[in-house]
Symmetry: C2
Subunit: 147 residues, 2 copies
DNA sequence: TCCTTTACTTGAATCATTCAAGTTTGCTGC
DNA sequence: GCAGCAAACTTGAATGATTCAAGTAAAGGA
């Protein structure tokens, strides 16, 4: 289904701003709100940052977007929803990459012991260094070789 | 080893404030900074909030405390460090409970595909409802029975 | 085409956290 | 035991992502 259809299906109105958000997010790579805002403005002209926040929340509630909130860095969004995939986050540059669920289908929803909690979602973030930052960290002489 | 020893081992000075922080965090249940601050002040008198932030960062860097940062709620701290355990977080009240790693020893460090990332930590959060909030949600007539 | 509801705009507020500058204190060496 | 230095603490202000509030514009069903 296309974006307008998905929007209507979620009970949301179809607006230029929202379509531009969908395009920007699906064309980008785990963008943050600021980057999405820039992308939207490039596509359809001035849109307020608050409208972007508002729409992102609506789209997320409607299941059209997934929100990623790594500790200590601003929220990011992606269009890959409905599957149980996880994320690799770079400690150095904040870049995010998708990882398929390590264990299979939806196993992450079952902790060893749930302490009586009614679990509905598992959030798995692998922290590390992305390839570019790895290369940089590896080649740079610590605290030197920098002009 | 006791707290003063652990502090020295981490290259940190032993102060009343820091000992009070260790006591408060280990006596509490995944407390946030505000709660830790209150606990510290009860034990040793007025201590500034900034000193608490500063010390918590130092203690975390020194490996004496573990920081938990669930999306959308303030940072919490615990004294259980060095093992690979995860957390259950209540969507309703924010309560946090420990869960042992589902898969065994340190398997969570190995995503299905690492996309070239050098992974050093896995952060697993199970989202759901804690028993009290479950009970409340179950018994309450939606949008009624509330005075 | 009208009307209602939802979306958007502008502007201000919030909240956890950090930064900065100056003072105090723990602790190492004498 | 005392001096001196670095680490820790205090006070006060700043930051930055996000939300709230009130008014205006526009989507889409009647």
């Amino acid at each position: 289904m296309n974006d307008p259809g998905r929007l209507r299906e979620a009970g949301l109105r179809v607006t230029a701003a929202r379509l531009a958000i969908m395009q920007t997010v699906s064309g980008g790579d785990h963008l943050d709100v600021e980057a999405i805002h820039r992308g939207v403005c490039e596509r359809v002209g001035q849109v307020s940052l608050q409208a972007v926040y508002d729409s992102l929340n609506a789209l997320q509630r409607g299941g059209l977007l997934r929100r990623i909130e790594p500790a200590g860095s601003p929220t990011r969004y992606e269009t890959r929803v409905g599957d149980n995939h996880h994320h690799l986050v770079c400690r150095s540059c904040g870049r995010v990459a998708d990882v398929d669920c390590a264990v299979g289908h939806a196993p992450c929803l079952e902790p060893a012991s749930d302490a009586g909690y009614l679990v509905d979602e598992a959030d798995v973030i692998y922290w590390g260094l992305c390839p570019p930052c790895r290369a940089e960290a590896g080649s740079a002489q610590p605290d030197s070789a920098r002009v």
